[in-house]
Structure formats: C-alpha cells, structure tokens
Amino acid sequence: MLHILKLIALWRFCMKGRVVLIGVALVLILSGCTTGKSMDKVEPAKAVVLGMDGIPQPDWVYKTVSAQDRHYESGYGKMTDRQISIKRATVEAKNKIAEWVSTQVKEVIVTYVNDAGSGADRQTLDAMEAISLQVAEATLSGVTTEEMWIDAEGGVWVLCSIPLDNIEKNFEPAAAAVAEAFSENEAADAANAKMKDSFAAILKKSTN
C-alpha cells in the first residue's frame, strides 16, 4: 500500500515537472526568443511616401542622381494649377543645371589662369572673366525632363538632365576664344588643350 502511494506521488511529481517544462517552452516561444539570428541584422522598415494617385515617392526626389554621361537636377513647384506647377518645377531644375555648368566652367577658368601663370596680367584676367561669363551664360542644348512625380499636396517634382557631351560642345567656341585672347602667349595652344581636358575631367569627376 505504501509502495502504491509512493508511486502515485512520484507520478504526480513527474507530471508537475512536465507542466513546468511545457510552460518554459511556451514562454520562450511567445517572447520571440531566437537562437540562430543576431538582432543587428534586422533592417528598419522604410517609410513609403505616397503621392497623388498613390504613386510612391521616387528616390530622385531626395537623392542625387548620377550617371557617367549625363548630369541630373531636380526641381519643385507648387502653384495654382498643375500646368504652371510643372513649368515652375522645370524652370527650377533647368536653372540648377545652368548654375552647375556655370560653376564647372568657372572652376576650369580659374585652374587655367593659375596654370598659365597669368595672375599678374590684369588685361588677361579681364578677358578671362568676360569669356567665363560668356560661357556660363551659354545656351545649353538637349536639356530633357526625365521623370515627374506629384506629391499628395499637388506639388510637382521634376527630374531634368543634360548630356555631358553637349556641355563640352558648348565649351569649344569659348575655349577657342580663350586661345585667341592668349595668342601672344607661347604656351597658349598647350594650355588651351589642357583647359579642354580639365573641363572634360571636371565634368566626369562631378558626376561620380
């Protein structure tokens, strides 16, 4: 009789232990404990901004787009109607392209003047300034609207681009004018070629 009671007590103890084990396993599962993954690998969820008609915001609205053979700029406009908003956004993007070209040209001119060692020649510097202005205001060709996105409030974003080859072509007449201005300089031809090369290099560099 005593043996039977002992057996029942042992069975009860085992049952209790099993319940505890099952409980521990459940707690581990519910708390999401994983043994094979490290937490730092989990990437945060990216918020998707939806525009008009539920179209998601493209990357180029907040990121600089770059390519080997084109330069890109974006513009934004929010006016009284869609048509004028598009125009305003396009004007802004095109202006950024023009400013970028102007900056590249000025950089080349400064480099060229320094390299040519003409810093002390006031007349030459004036000529350079006039030419650089002429180039910076030069007509750009082939500026194209690549993409457009309209945000939820009706603001319009456009992405415009220009082929780098076209900018180099625009630069050629001005480079020739610079060479003419420096005709008395013996190193003019070599410096002119160097200027063209450095312009091409700067354009390529700035797109990377």
Binding site: Q83, I84, V143, I150
Partner: protein, 263 residues
C-alpha cells in the same frame, strides 16, 4: 427635302472647289466612338496616324463650317510637318515674401504658305455636324503612311484617362500634356490645349536653353533676406507633331490634349 438636296449639292461643290477627295464621305449628326468627355468628337485612336480631325466652331452656314473644319485639318497637317516653339520665363523669389513673380510667354510658328496644297491632297472621310462644335471633319493625308498611333490610352478607376497623371513613356516618341480653360467656341479651347501641350513638349526637351539667374543677399538694419531671380529662354523645332488624345473634364470645364513627336 429640296432644301437638304441643295445643301448636299453645295457641299459637293465646295469640296470640289477645295480640291479634296470626297469619295465615300459619311455625313451625319452623330459620331461613333468619341473622345472621353466629348459628345461629338470622334475617337482619333480608331484611325491611323495620317488621319486628322478638324473642328470649325459654329458659323452661319454649314458650307462655311465645313470650309473652316477642312482648314483646321490642313493646319494640323502643317503643324506635323514643322512646328517651331519658343518660351521665355521670368521669376523672382524672396526669402521673406516667397514667390513674388512668375511670368511666362510662349509662341508657336508654322508654315501656312502650303495650306492650299495640303487641302488639295486631303481625303475627307467623315463630316459630323453639332450645334456647339459646328462641323467636325475627319480627313486623311494620303501622302503620309498610315502607321499605328503612338499611344492608345486607357481609363483609370476614376474614369479619367491615365495620361493625365502618368505621361506615357516610349522609346520612339516624346509626349506632352496641355490643358486650357473653356473658350466660347470648342475649336478655340482645343487649339489652346494643343498649344499648351506643345509648350509642355518644349519644357520636356529643349533644343536650346538660355538660363540666367542671380541670388543676392539684402541686409539692412531691420532685416536680412535673400532674393533669387531667374530668366530662361528656350526653343525647339518639333517635327512629326500630332494630337494623340483629348479629354474634357466636365467638373472643372478644362480641356486636355496629349500630343507626341517622334524622338
């Protein structure tokens, strides 16, 4: 009966005078499939690319309406041969007051010296009469190949054409969208929307662009602000210009045009 016979004879006389071909012309008071939002304007997409639709606007006689509509067709053919567009924009922005000015002016030019010759080679396919539109003439330019149209649109869930919000993309064509408020006559509203669409094509791709901007900081005892000004002039020569689709938004009474040029 006698009166309508006289009118029909007058049409034939008029068309002969213009030199158009009139074989198999369907004259009616109602169109078949129409452009979205237009009760009378035929759907251009059911025709090949060498077909144009001219709208006259109301005139006192049917003869005059047909005459004007044929002229409208010839004008569209002339536009497709060469259309020069230019645009100038001046805008100024102030960091305190925001946008202070935004003015734009655009022009479009085409060669109208060959209109008589174009009219001579048009083949009239259909004439529709409508109280508001006047005469609507569907005509084919036999000297051009009847190719497929660059884009056949579909309607979005709101019942509006999808090209209103998503400009079509194509390897072969460049598209432009333009809109206009309502003018007194339908043909004027359509022409204004077409013009804006041509300007949009120019915005999207300029052969030449001149841009000049300035930014200056104004500082005095009471405030510091920044001013920005932009002047831009652009131009392009559009060849192969064609109206691809139209839409009339009845809620806002706005006319929309989708146009295209080959790349």
């Amino acid at each position: 009966m006698r009166r309508s016979l006289m009118t029909a004879v007058s049409f034939v006389m008029l068309l002969f005078l213009f030199g158009c071909s009139v074989l198999g012309v369907n004259v009616s008071d109602a169109a078949g499939p129409t452009e979205v939002g237009f009760p009378v304007l035929p759907d251009i997409n059911v025709y090949p690319s060498n077909v144009v639709i001219g709208v006259s606007g109301p005139y006192s006689t049917k003869e005059r309406m047909v005459e004007e509509a044929i002229l409208g067709c010839a004008r569209l053919v002339a536009l497709s041969e060469a259309l020069a567009v230019d645009n100038r924009v001046v805008t100024q922005w102030d960091s305190k007051k925001g946008l202070r000015s935004f003015a734009t002016e655009g022009n479009a030019y085409f060669d109208d010296s060959s209109l008589a010759e174009i009219i001579g080679r048009l083949v009239i396919l259909e004439i529709i009469f409508d109280k508001e539109a006047g005469a609507v003439v569907v005509a084919c330019d036999g000297t051009h190949k009847p190719d497929d149209r660059p884009y056949v649109g579909s309607l979005g869930p709101d019942g509006k054409p999808q090209w209103l919000t998503n400009i079509p993309k194509s390897e072969a064509y460049r598209f432009g969208v333009g809109s206009s408020g309502s003018y007194r006559f339908l043909n004027d509203s359509l022409e204004a929307a077409d013009f804006e669409a041509a300007q949009n094509l120019l915005d999207r791709h300029a052969d030449q662009l001149y841009a000049k901007g300035f930014t200056k900081t104004v500082q005095n005892q009471t405030e510091t602000r920044m001013e920005t000004g932009i002047y831009q002039a652009s131009k392009a020569l559009l060849q192969g210009f064609m109206v691809v689709s139209r839409y009339h938004d009845q809620e806002t009474n706005t006319y929309w045009s989708l146009v295209a040029v080959p790349k």
